[in-house]
């Protein structure tokens, strides 16, 4: 069919929009290379001093380490309970199960500010404010629904007869789970783990309520930098944060591409 002029114009417009969705974030790159002492664009020369600053300052380094630990542990927990839950709901497969599913997806729907209040109400009496445990638990609750979604999507394409076959051949529940079901839904588990890690790695609103001095994640320190709006190190941090997020995205995209033809 001949493509009409308005459709062509719209396609051009859409490409411009798509580029504009990404381009603004890239200004952090030149700003991070400025040789000046304030947030500015480099004019004559480029400098890596703020990357040196970022990777030598004890504060930023400890924030990197904290974000990595909190992200890794909460991803492990969220992926485990999210995957088990998805398999459970898939086995149950009843209206009651679907009600439970929508309840478990609530952490994605409830505004983060309300989640932050709720966690803070709970953690103050438990002494979990400003602790790794508190943030890890909170991030696990917020990211496990993502795993539930991706694993459920994988399970929708998983042949339930494989599970029956495994049991008929005498495998126990546990062996069936580990050797038959989990390998069959690996792409969904991996995607869920990547989403879970990024959601923790980027999380700021709940962290603002739950951290004070001793736990200071990367987004938390960036938040301060953005509010103060003077030190160019925050630009370097933004570039690194973006790079790691895109790296995780690339891992996920490559894995998805590799598994798709086989599925």
């Amino acid at each position: 069919m001949r493509v009409s002029l308005p459709a062509k114009l719209n396609t051009g417009f859409a490409w411009v929009l798509l580029v504009l969705l990404i381009a603004p974030a890239l200004v952090a790159i030149p700003v991070s290379l400025t040789p000046k002492t304030f947030l500015s664009f480099p004019t004559d020369e480029l400098s890596l001093q703020y990357y040196r600053e970022l990777f030598s300052s004890p504060e930023w380094l400890s924030s990197f380490a904290q974000s990595t630990v909190i992200g890794a542990v909460s991803t492990l927990l969220a992926t485990t309970i999210g995957t088990l839950c998805a398999i459970g709901l898939w086995r149950v497969s009843s209206p009651a199960g679907e009600v439970v599913r929508s309840v478990l997806l609530l952490p994605l729907v409830v505004p983060p500010i309300i989640a932050a209040m709720a966690f803070s109400r709970l953690f103050v009496p438990l002494g979990l404010i400003d602790s790794y445990t508190g943030l890890i638990l909170a991030h696990t609750v917020l990211s496990a629904p993502l795993v539930l979604i991706t694993v459920s999507a994988s399970l929708a394409g998983f042949d339930a007869r494989l599970e029956q076959a495994s049991r008929n051949l005498g495998a126990s529940n546990w062996v069936t789970l580990r050797r038959v079901i989990v390998p069959g839904i690996r792409p969904g588990i991996l995607a869920g783990a990547v989403f879970a890690f990024i959601s923790s790695w980027d999380e700021i609103v709940v962290t603002l309520f739950l951290s004070k001095f001793s736990v200071y994640t990367l987004p938390r320190r960036m938040w301060n930098g953005i509010r103060e709006n003077t030190d160019p190190t925050v630009a370097a941090a933004a570039v690194v944060l973006m790079a790691i997020t895109l790296l995780a995205f690339a891992i996920w995209a490559l894995a998805a591409r590799r598994t798709r033809p086989a599925a």
Partner: protein, 279 residues
């Protein structure tokens, strides 16, 4: 099969306990303090009638959300339309750009907008160099900046439901309209657009729901001048320690979001929005 039902629920249990104990329980506690702190009763809710500040904040939140939703859905519709009609490789490139933009942290975006929209930011100096403006435009510390940042963040969320709705349209319907003599414009406005209505409604609701509780972008780009509900709640909790007022606003926000979710479930199966029910 050995007790399949029981073993299924057993696997659900850890997640259910975690969400129940760490999330739903404390949220109920927040709802509870909205009617008990500082004094039992509906005093916190009565403030809505008496306090101009609260009314202004709710009004700002609604206004910004409505405008942002409208722009996000219109721009998202354009992208989705181009994506559906693009050939294979171009389509995957478009989807790739969209997904990357999804993944860029809200903090990075906010920081970048600060650099771009400031008085001496890229946009102002660019426009001045081109001779389009003589004095810098105030993009920040006002609703304009907040809207730019929020629309930019929300467009990808708007694209996906509309894209899904467009993909399910039977192309022969459009051909039938053309062969019966309908012009391109007529076909679009009278056939295509109505068919994509479920996608538009779902996209509007998704965007609106996320906007209602948006914190980072209004707080930074609004610079204290565009006070929306989420930022006000955080000030009440972290600075003035007025949990009662904060809890009341949280309750209103929560019921608003849940009501919109319920509305959405009537237009679209929630599982298609969230992906992955078994059937």
């Amino acid at each position: 099969m050995r007790l399949p039902l029981k073993s299924g629920w057993l696997l659900v249990l850890p997640f259910l306990l975690l969400v129940g104990g760490l999330f739903l329980g404390p949220i109920l506690n927040v709802l509870w303090i909205s009617v008990t702190d500082p004094a039992p009763g509906f005093g916190n809710y009565a403030q809505l009638g008496s306090s101009d500040t609260l009314r202004r904040i709710l009004w700002t939140t609604l206004r910004v959300c409505v405008i942002c939703t409208a722009f996000s859905v219109i721009l998202g519709y354009s992208i989705a339309y181009a994506m559906v009609h693009a050939a294979g490789p171009a389509q995957s490139r478009m989807v790739g750009l969209l997904l990357i933009s999804f993944w860029i942290s809200v903090l990075v975006r906010t920081f970048s907008w600060l650099m771009l929209l400031g008085r001496n930011g890229v946009v102002n100096s660019g426009l001045e160099a081109l001779g389009i403006i003589t004095a810098p435009i105030a993009f920040m510390r006002n609703e304009l900046g907040v809207l730019i940042g929020m629309v930019h963040y929300m467009v990808p969320y708007a694209v996906l439901p509309i894209f899904a709705a467009m993909q399910s349209i039977d192309g022969r319907v459009v051909q039938a309209s053309r062969s019966l003599g309908g012009s391109g414009a007529q076909t679009f406005w009278r056939i295509y657009l109505p068919l994509t209505k479920p996608g538009i409604v779902a996209a509007s609701l998704v965007v609106f729901i996320i906007n209602l509780g948006f914190y980072v972008i209004p707080a930074v780009l609004g610079g204290g001048k565009v006070l929306m509900v989420a930022e006000y709640i955080s000030v009440q909790v972290l600075i003035t320690l007025q949990w009662g007022t904060a809890a009341m606003l949280a309750a209103i926000l929560l019921f608003g979001v849940l009501a919109l979710m319920f509305l959405m479930s009537r237009f679209m199966k929630l599982s298609t929005v969230f992906g992955g029910a078994r059937t």
